[in-house]
């Protein structure tokens, strides 16, 4: 990525946060200095809060990497939210019933999450590849189908003995992800996400598949003439993207909540779009962006508690960042051929 452009984008994002955040706080009758310091203290003020910020970073990083990967192939995956939910659902309903030592249970359940999300992504990929169905609308619709499927599953056929209406019962402790820091929710999921970011960067930059994937995104016609099967490439990219998001859903179930809950994600799949864009679709910078958004997400909670600024202001500001930054780069979307 072009560092100066990245720095400029980061400056713009920072400017939006400061200017509109201050305006919103003034509207709520709060001194912006108090509000922002409450946000920063809430996010990074001590070790437990910093750990929780890293938990948010992790939960954002999976869908953001998924979206960035799809974007690079010219595919708009607006369905990370649904893929994350289905991945979490599979990890949750299997995990609740599957008792095994951690070194077996954890990989199996993470794989289940990736398979669930991957299947949900594959569905959109199949509609795209087979019927030229617009994947934006398809993934968007599948988000809502996912919510209904999950709601039906945990209240109907897969209802657990102990689970409340909107969630499953707790998973056996052996399938909890090991924590990195004692007494926090920061688990090896962070390591997993960082390794994944590294692998994706290597895949995109140094492998033939990565080159082909970018070729499909940058110049589909040329790629096709060079012998790349567009339909196949799009199908598998969408599947892989879904699998990454689904894996993220599983890490939330195994590492953060220890059960599947319908409200698993406060919009990670949508905010992930902003994270992917601010990170210039480069896994390395997406990771940095996820940390910044992790600060916002977790700091908003502290800000609400300490300075009485409703945390929703952060959602609105994230939307503004998306709106402004999306215009600053040209993302090629492959047409319906």
């Amino acid at each position: 990525m072009n560092l100066s452009r990245g720095a400029r984008d980061a400056a713009i994002a920072f400017g939006i946060i400061v200017v509109f955040g201050s305006l919103a706080m003034l509207l709520a009758g709060v001194n912006p200095i108090d509000g922002f310091s409450a946000l920063l203290i809430g996010a990074l003020g001590n070790v437990p809060e910093t750990a929780e910020t890293l938990v948010q970073t992790t939960s954002l990083l999976f869908p953001a990497l998924a979206i960035a990967l799809a974007f690079r192939a010219g595919l708009f995956n607006i369905g990370a939210e649904g893929q994350l939910l289905i991945g979490g659902l599979l990890a949750g309903v299997i995990g609740e019933r599957f008792i095994a030592p951690g070194f077996i249970a954890i990989p199996v359940l993470l794989l289940a999450g990736a398979v669930g999300g991957g299947a949900w992504g594959a569905l959109a990929g199949w509609l795209r590849a087979r019927f030229s169905a617009n994947e934006v609308i398809a993934t968007l619709m599948l988000n809502y189908v996912a919510i209904q499927v999950a709601a039906y599953a945990i209240t109907g056929p897969l209802k657990s003995a102990t689970g409340a209406g909107n969630e499953t019962g707790e998973l056996p402790a052996s399938s909890f992800l090991p924590t990195i820091l004692p007494d926090t929710r920061l688990t090896i999921a962070l390591v997993l996400a960082l390794v994944l970011a590294f692998l994706l960067r290597w895949l995109l930059r140094s492998t033939v598949i990565g080159y082909q994937l970018r070729a499909v995104g940058d110049a589909p016609r040329t790629a096709q003439r060079a012998g790349i099967d567009l339909a196949k490439m799009r199908f598998w990219t969408m599947t892989a993207s879904g699998a990454i998001a689904g894996l993220g859903g599983a890490t939330i179930v195994l590492g953060v909540l220890h059960r599947f809950n319908l409200a698993l994600s406060p919009g990670y799949g949508f905010i992930g779009i902003a994270v992917a864009l601010v990170g210039e679709l480069d896994p390395l910078w997406v990771t940095v962006a996820a940390f910044v958004f992790g600060i916002l997400q977790n700091g908003a909670i502290g800000m609400q508690a300490a300075a009485n600024v409703p945390r929703d202001v952060v959602t609105a500001i994230e939307g503004l960042i998306i709106l402004v930054l999306a215009g600053r780069r040209i993302i090629t979307r492959s047409g319906a051929d």
């Binding site: 509207l27 499927v149 939307g319 998306i322 709106l323 215009g327």
Partner: protein, 283 residues
């Protein structure tokens, strides 16, 4: 039976408004993922302005104006700045949903839901149901029988050709998206001020996306989209009567989205979007 029909109309009206807004935008070549946020902002602003002024009519007008403003922002982003429309629409949704939730605390001093305000009442509800149906017909006449309507469609099919013919696609798209935002906001005004008399968080509840589904299912025609919205509204109304029959309510709620997927895949006949739908235009 009459009660069911009325319930169907009431459940359909917000979808009809938003779907008509979607048709107008997409016919001009702008894909509007932000309908959901426009419904929310219309509902919230309507209630907030009614609370501030004590007038339901002023509230309704303000609600529509706020939707138009959001539509104008999307229109400007999609034309002047050539922002990727899908991403911009997602941004619009976050701004509107986050902003409304934030605004609740600022205006009413409480999260979750607003206080009750002066609303349009039963007469207003009937009037707005009729208006929704009338607008479907009017938009159809506008798009297919009038000269400006032809211009809108030309910009969605082939902006280059339209430009050569002396129509400014950027201007047409901007105004179509602004009007589309106002239409969608009318749906929000209906939810918060005709059906109810307050705003609560999450009130739009995915209706903007069901409206997008109705646009596809109705094949980008105002009458088709309104019919699809009525169909989806009927299913929402059925949920109240079918709860005892054992059909899982989740199936009914997933139906609009599944129907859209089927239409998208072309199983229900070719669903063809305007050729330049979602494609930024550079003069």
């Amino acid at each position: 039976m009459f009660a069911f029909l009325w319930l169907m109309l009431v459940k359909s009206a917000p979808l009809v408004y938003a779907a008509l807004g979607g048709v107008l935008c997409e016919r001009s070549g702008v894909l509007n993922i932000g309908l959901e946020g426009m419904i929310a902002i219309g509902a919230f602003s309507g209630v907030a302005i009614s609370f501030a002024t004590g007038s339901a009519i002023l509230g309704a007008i303000g609600g529509v104006a706020s939707g138009a403003l959001l539509g104008a922002i999307l229109g400007l982003a999609a034309t002047r700045f050539r922002v990727e429309q899908i991403v911009a629409g997602t941004g619009i949704n976050l701004i509107a949903l986050g902003g409304s939730a934030y605004g609740l605390v600022v205006v009413f001093g409480q999260p979750g839901a607003s206080k009750e305000v002066n609303a349009l009442g039963p007469t207003g509800e009937i009037a707005m149901v009729c208006l929704a149906l009338a607008l479907a017909g009017l938009l159809h006449v506008f798009l297919f029988w009038t000269r400006p309507g032809l211009h809108v469609r030309a910009c969605g099919e082939n902006p280059r050709a339209a430009d050569v013919a002396g129509i400014n696609p950027l201007r047409v798209r901007f105004w179509a998206t602004t009007a589309g935002g106002a239409f969608a906001a009318l749906g929000g005004v209906f939810l918060a001020m005709a059906e109810l008399d307050l705003y609560s968080d999450g009130m739009s509840a995915g209706r903007g996306f069901i409206a997008l589904a109705a646009v596809i299912f109705g094949r980008w025609n105002p009458l088709g989209a309104a019919a699809a919205a009525l169909f989806f509204g009927a299913f929402e109304a059925l949920q109240f009567t079918l709860q005892r029959t054992g059909i899982p309510v989740e199936f009914m709620q997933a139906l609009p989205y599944v129907a859209a997927l089927i239409a998208l895949a072309g199983f229900a006949g070719r669903a063809r979007a305007p050729a330049a739908d979602g494609v930024p235009y550079r003069r």
